[in-house]
């Protein structure tokens, strides 16, 4: 064979030349790759050419169409098509590059799959965050809706308990009150979870003494579960007890863990031990404290340990089991994380469970006790409390609260802002209690109007806002307006009077 013949053969078998008329009729085809009969129309050959005649007038000299997938009678080819216009004649060249393109396919496939996998995780995270946001907003709104009727329910039960009741009635009322309080705690738990997950729960940094704190915890649980269970609280003498932190949230953590321990222990012991943590604190001014809550209860199976802090999951899976612990353990985990601490759980079926927490606190030098002078009982002076409330049930609850109170508070009722200002201008009012949705004015405008009132005595009247709105943004706006107190529904008579007293003392 002469040199060049092989090359010519190879080239010829992979390149096809076709001539078509401006109308798309096949004038000539060498049929090297596909059989295209002369006098047929190129549009009929394959979909790629379906609208080809329309395109021809726009071609000036030549045009390339790379990588066209063509399947004719079961034969698949990937070809490049080049159209050349010469002397008003159109020549098509097919280049069979099937092998080349097929070889490149796995490389592109791998590259694309890697890229998709990389971004998939980001998306899943984003979607989860969006779902969490949605859930938290929903919970906050639900919370608000439930707080108002719950406030009335608990309030009237409290008022009822002060009336003359038979033993049986009194016992039934206690059950109803206990159930109502459980509902209140559950609502607060839900709210805390959504606040923590939204990142809007702020920790306090206040001075507190760990020894006093532990003593209160011991007293509470010793009193509550004075049964066969041996309860001990021990604090190692090396633990720094003069601390700065959020005692309320620490209380919430330990309270939930101890409640959980008592709920799951029928006999044996429950203990809370406080020791210096083997983990080091990040700053010199901090100390890392380890809290160990241990019980000899029924314990947890291995597969349950992983999900013990996810109470949503538990609520879903254990539908038959009463709620019992509420959402406590989820709150524990979220709060500990918020405090930059850690919590781990160790458990064995029928042996017991141990929660180990390491939490950092800022240390402080304890102050020397200042001597306090004893308060001498004085004469009560009537205080006028202006309540702005338009709903009858709520009005009645306030009436019941203020009826025959020992603080000498006199309730004045206004059903809207207009009536409130009329009363404010007529008599001395010591504290205003406003609701969020005053019929003729929103609460923010009402506060502004009081604070801008021409009469100084009115301008300076302390304002308490009573609301079921738990959204931080709402509460922050109220804080900016310098109200004297915020009373979250549901509230008890004691809480209401405490808020009034604090406002009067400001």
């Amino acid at each position: 064979m002469a040199y060049g013949n092989l090359k010519k053969q190879l080239f010829e078998s992979r390149v096809q030349e076709i001539e078509i008329s401006p109308k798309g009729e096949v004038v000539f085809s060498d049929n090297a790759i596909f059989n295209i009969p002369e006098k047929s129309t190129i549009s009929d050959f394959h979909l790629f050419f379906e609208l080809f005649p329309e395109l021809l007038p726009s071609i000036k000299e030549s045009i390339q169409f790379p990588c066209i997938n063509i399947e004719i009678e079961g034969v698949k080819k990937i070809i490049d098509v080049e159209v050349i216009k010469k002397d008003k004649r159109y020549f098509l060249f097919f280049f069979d590059l099937t092998e080349h393109y097929e070889n490149s396919q796995p490389i592109v496939q791998e590259k694309n799959e890697a890229s998709i996998a990389k971004y998939k995780l980001d998306f899943e995270k984003k979607l989860l965050e969006a779902k969490e946001d949605f859930k938290n907003t929903f919970l906050a709104n639900l919370n608000h809706e439930i707080r108002n009727p719950l406030n009335n329910l608990l309030g009237f039960l409290e008022t009822l308990s002060a009336s003359s009741l038979s033993y049986e009635q009194s016992e039934l009322l206690k059950v109803a009150q206990k159930t109502g309080m459980q509902l209140k705690v559950l609502m607060e738990d839900l709210l805390d979870i959504s606040k923590i997950e939204e990142g809007v729960l702020e920790l306090k940094h206040v001075n507190f003494n760990l020894s006093t704190f532990m003593a209160a915890i011991y007293k509470h649980f010793q009193f509550k579960y004075s049964s066969d269970i041996n309860f001990t609280v021990e604090t190692d003498s090396k633990v720094h007890t003069a601390l700065i932190g959020d005692p309320n949230r620490l209380h919430q953590i330990l309270f939930n863990l101890l409640e959980n321990a008592f709920q799951n222990t029928n006999q044996g012991s429950v203990s809370l031990t406080v020791v210096p943590s083997p983990k080091k604190a990040k700053a010199k001014s901090e100390t890392m404290i380890r809290f160990i809550v241990k019980d000899t209860g029924k314990g947890l199976a291995k597969e349950k340990i992983k999900t013990v802090f996810d109470n949503y999951l538990q609520l879903e899976k254990e539908k038959l089991k009463p709620l019992g612990n509420g959402l406590g353990l989820k709150i524990v985990k979220n709060l500990v994380q918020l405090m930059n601490g850690t919590v781990v759980v160790e458990s064995k079926i029928d042996v017991g469970t141990e929660f180990i927490l390491d939490i950092p606190f800022t240390t402080r030098i304890p102050k020397k006790k200042a001597y306090k002078t004893k308060k001498i009982p004085g004469i009560y002076i009537n205080k006028n409390i202006l309540v702005i409330e338009d709903i009858k049930d709520n009005q009645m609850l306030y009436f019941k609260y203020f009826l025959n109170n020992d603080e000498a508070y006199i309730m004045n009722l206004a059903k809207d802002a207009e009536m409130a200002f009329s009363l404010l201008e007529k008599k001395r009012i010591d504290v205003i209690i406003a609701k969020t949705t005053i019929p003729d004015m929103d609460v923010f405008s009402f506060i502004d109007k009081v604070k801008e009132h021409p009469e100084e005595s009115i301008r300076k009247t302390p304002i308490i806002v009573a609301s079921g709105n738990s959204l931080l943004e709402f509460q922050n706006t109220l804080e900016e307006k310098e109200i004297s107190n915020y009373l979250m529904k549901p509230f008890t008579k004691k809480e209401l009077f405490k808020a009034i007293k604090e406002s009067l003392n400001q």
Binding site: N69, I78, S104, L127, F134
Partner: protein, 162 residues
């Protein structure tokens, strides 16, 4: 009379262009992702106001932006379908500039935006995620379930007539 219209599917790789065409033309779907090299062309006839329209659908290989697409593929187009994947932000984060490119270079040619794989979202989340103006008239389709696929192709066919 049968009218033929060339519709080109644009968008990133892996957004489901081929799956949309398969669902529309062959009524089939596969979870397996097989990369498109070059262009595959399929045809389906739809009837609009009693008139048969043959949609010549060009399913071209995915590119990160239209400028990277082979220019000759876009010649003679009667409509564009810009497909993105609702579950991959990188496939729609530059969508405004992509649409601007279409408007600038193919001024009179109708187009539509399609968020595919919508089965991964609930309606609530689609609204939250895609509240930008550019998504206002978008179609949210699922080649997997077939949701909105027929509607989208029929409506784009209708647009080619106006």
């Amino acid at each position: 009379m049968n009218i033929a219209k060339k519709v080109v599917l644009l968008g990133h790789f892996g957004v489901g262009k081929t799956s949309l065409v398969r669902r529309f033309v062959d009524m089939a779907f596969s979870e397996e992702y097989l990369v498109t090299v070059g262009v595959h062309i399929k045809k389906k006839t739809v009837t609009i106001n009693g008139e048969d329209i043959s949609l010549i659908i060009w399913d071209i290989e995915g590119k990160n932006n239209i400028e990277e697409a082979r220019k000759s593929y876009l010649l003679g187009s009667h409509a564009f379908v810009y497909v993105f994947d609702v579950s991959r932000p990188e496939t729609y984060e530059n969508i405004e500039s992509e649409i601007d490119y279409i408007k600038e270079h193919f001024n009179s040619i109708p187009y539509c935006i399609v968020g595919n794989k919508a089965d991964l979202f609930t309606e609530d989340f689609s609204e939250t995620f895609f509240d930008k103006k550019v998504f206002k008239d978008s179609y949210f389709t699922s080649a997997k379930t077939g949701d909105n696929v027929e509607t989208m192709f029929t409506e784009i066919a209708q647009k080619t007539l106006s």
